[in-house]
Symmetry: C3
Subunit: 320 residues, 3 copies
């Protein structure tokens, strides 16, 4: 048992939402973090080499349902870390997951970046940023710079074990470059997700940055997604800030999504306050307003095409 650490996060809130005729009042989850329970460990192999593993399941802490039919929806990998960096095998984060570093309100239910990347974008901390059957390389840090390259052999090979090895069909490739030095963080992310729900030959680029002025942290990002089909390109940008106040923080974020398709743009705005009851336990309250053009219905808690979605959540996040 000394080889395994059991850990996790529960994040549950009461919320109300309204978008046109759609209304929500109830209990939901995941404003600051997706609920999870995990098992992890590492072993020192000598000569600077380490074996590491993570098995991490996601679930909904409002109704106790699993995040998907997987045993470990969030992560399931084993790898070796050494002077060369880290190489891992299994279900792992694509670089798209790390977009949350340049985000003012984490990557959850009330986050403009998470809301505006809905409908198929994959550079976001959501489910699509976890890639099955992947080989993942993460470099060491050189003068603040580090990089990640990941290749996913797709999910179909897990079923028939005899898949067509055509990358554009279901394989995915991702590249992440990070610069983190003192108050500054910059991320460039590229993924090619093959044929996705968004369309064939799905590609995304992302550039995001965060700067901590001390007493105020400014964040922002710009990302694009394109597929083979005409009129389907998407652009999302967001900016935000975090201001420490007493035992908590005020978070403000604004973002916009523009599609090539007509009447399909959205804008989203969030203000939240997080109160640190301890390092592990945070109480929070947040509001989001997302406005939509006629052909799109993004938002939180309640959604309807062409309608503004308004949501308020009040909850608690506990890490263990």
């Amino acid at each position: 048992q000394s080889n395994v650490t059991v850990y996790g996060i529960i994040d549950t809130f009461v919320g109300v939402g309204k978008a046109g005729d759609a209304k929500f009042s109830g209990v939901a989850n995941g404003v600051l973090n997706g609920p999870r329970i995990g098992f992890k460990g590492e072993e020192d192999l000598g000569n600077g080499l380490k074996a590491k593993f993570v098995l991490e399941q996601g679930f909904n802490s409002d109704d106790a349902s699993p995040a998907s039919s997987k045993e470990f929806h969030r992560q399931a990998w084993v790898g070796l870390e050494g002077g060369f960096g880290f190489i891992g095998l299994g279900r792992q984060y694509s670089p798209g997951y790390y977009a949350f570093r340049n985000d003012a309100v984490a990557a959850g239910a009330l986050d403009p970046a998470a809301i505006l990347t809905g409908g198929g974008l994959q550079v976001d901390a959501g489910s699509d940023a976890r890639w099955d059957n992947s080989v993942n390389y993460q470099s060491k840090k050189f003068g603040g710079f580090s990089g990640q390259v990941i290749y996913s052999f797709g999910s179909t090979e897990a079923d028939d074990k005899a898949k067509n090895p055509n990358r554009n069909t279901d394989d995915k490739v991702g590249l992440g470059l990070n610069y983190a030095n003192g108050p500054l963080n910059v991320d460039y992310i590229y993924i090619n997700a093959g044929d996705s729900t968004l369309g064939d030959d799905h590609k995304e680029h992302y550039l995001g940055a965060a700067y901590d002025f001390g007493g105020f942290k400014l964040v922002g990002s710009y990302q694009t997604a394109s597929v083979d089909a005409n009129d389907s390109d998407v652009k999302v940008y967001q900016i935000g800030g975090i201001v420490p106040v007493g035992m908590g923080n005020i978070h403000v974020a604004y973002g916009a999504r523009n599609e090539d398709a007509q009447d399909s743009d959205s804008r989203s705005f969030t203000v939240a306050y997080t109160h640190n009851l301890s390092k592990r336990t945070i109480a929070y309250v947040g509001v989001n307003r997302t406005t939509n053009d006629d052909n799109v219905g993004l938002g939180a808690l309640a959604k309807q095409d062409g309608k503004s979605s308004n949501a308020l959540g009040l909850g608690i996040r506990h890490a263990f």
Copy 2:
């Protein structure tokens, strides 16, 4: 890991049963407790405030199948405890769960109370006493008295996040009042389960008590369930006793169920012996006989409408 306690119960038995043409011989589970594995913890936040959580899955220890499709079928909640009592969010016990306090043979496979509340009653320690998307308040104890109020926003909102907030459709509300002082325990429970499998506007009342005379514990309860439909009201009562003998206990329980509908009454009788191999491990043997009117087929292990159901189980319960 010091933040998490891993715990659980396995309860498996070999049994034989017969009801008319239906026969059972094999391995089953859950005479004394439903098998479970859980993760729990608490954090002291200072000023008398604590954060607490429980994530608890139920499963069948006979064939290793999960109790339902949920990740944590039994409980999944996070909450705060302080001078005000406890408030929690998630999948939590309704007051109906605690009916087992006034029960002579726990709330398992051979228990008259569990058998007779079959077919849709929810004031019982079974699955229906766990409510999703709930806000739960539990008071402190005042002179032996304590109370619980719980509101469940229903399971549909977890699917579409845009449910009709009509309480009678899928929301539930529950109220529990407990008096526990020295040898005496009394519980009053009320629930309104909305539209259930039993019928629309499903309501139940329960009154139960237990008194420990020292060397003999007497228990009993009376409960009613009603729905909108005529002729569907149900009344269940049970009485029982627990007598310590040597390293074990003899448990005796008798109960009856009366429905407004014709020829739908049942009676159930159980005698069991539990032998304490340790505080954590109990060997047991028990027999149940349930008799049924023509239109109902309650019982344990083997069931058939209008037939008596006889069952015998011999097993082991281990807590870890």
Copy 3:
């Protein structure tokens, strides 16, 4: 928590495979061991008596999916151990599981024994060697000899709890005899699996042995399977060896499968090298070639009827 040990194994590899038109290139799992996570414990009850339990889930470490819809696919049992031996209840290993003791390349994806027992044989460490609703007796060791008897009441009784207690339909019975003394291990295994996917009244016999010469371990086995249908009997034999070299081992295994049915024979050959990075962590590389008659398509990673299947895997196994 001191009552529970959390443990497991992850075994993931990158591989390529080809059989006729079928090709595989990607990430897969389970060359040395099936990935698993488990919870186990034991309690001393005094007088030489112990309560023991294991709850162990299997999963695919390549894509994080569960091995089946069970909560604990591999094992879920509680039992008592004492001077009489061990008796357990639940989902437990049939004697067929222990065939891996006489196997040169464990019982995984590249193992001739595992490949050649594909298509329904159950004396093999795979899924079918785990029996639900079983009563299992394991004797103590007497002068090197020990025995196991297991009876499984089938999976249907778990559904309707009123099954027909006809052993040939879904009940199973197994017998295992083991002699382990110094360098020699011998296993005889018999199972009657009732009506299986292979056919009605499915019976198997197995005889296997291993001898450690010091610096070279020789293993081999011979097994037969028969069902009621004509022309469906199957015979499988395999021999192999393990040679320690430096910090690792070279494993060689060859096996053949002969069916009564025409043009349905296969032969399989594997060479593997395992490198011990530590006691818990092993890096490995292995190749398998399986040749098939016209009507059968066994193999690893890529399979096609009548074609040779060639596979190479390079991976890591980490136990925690």
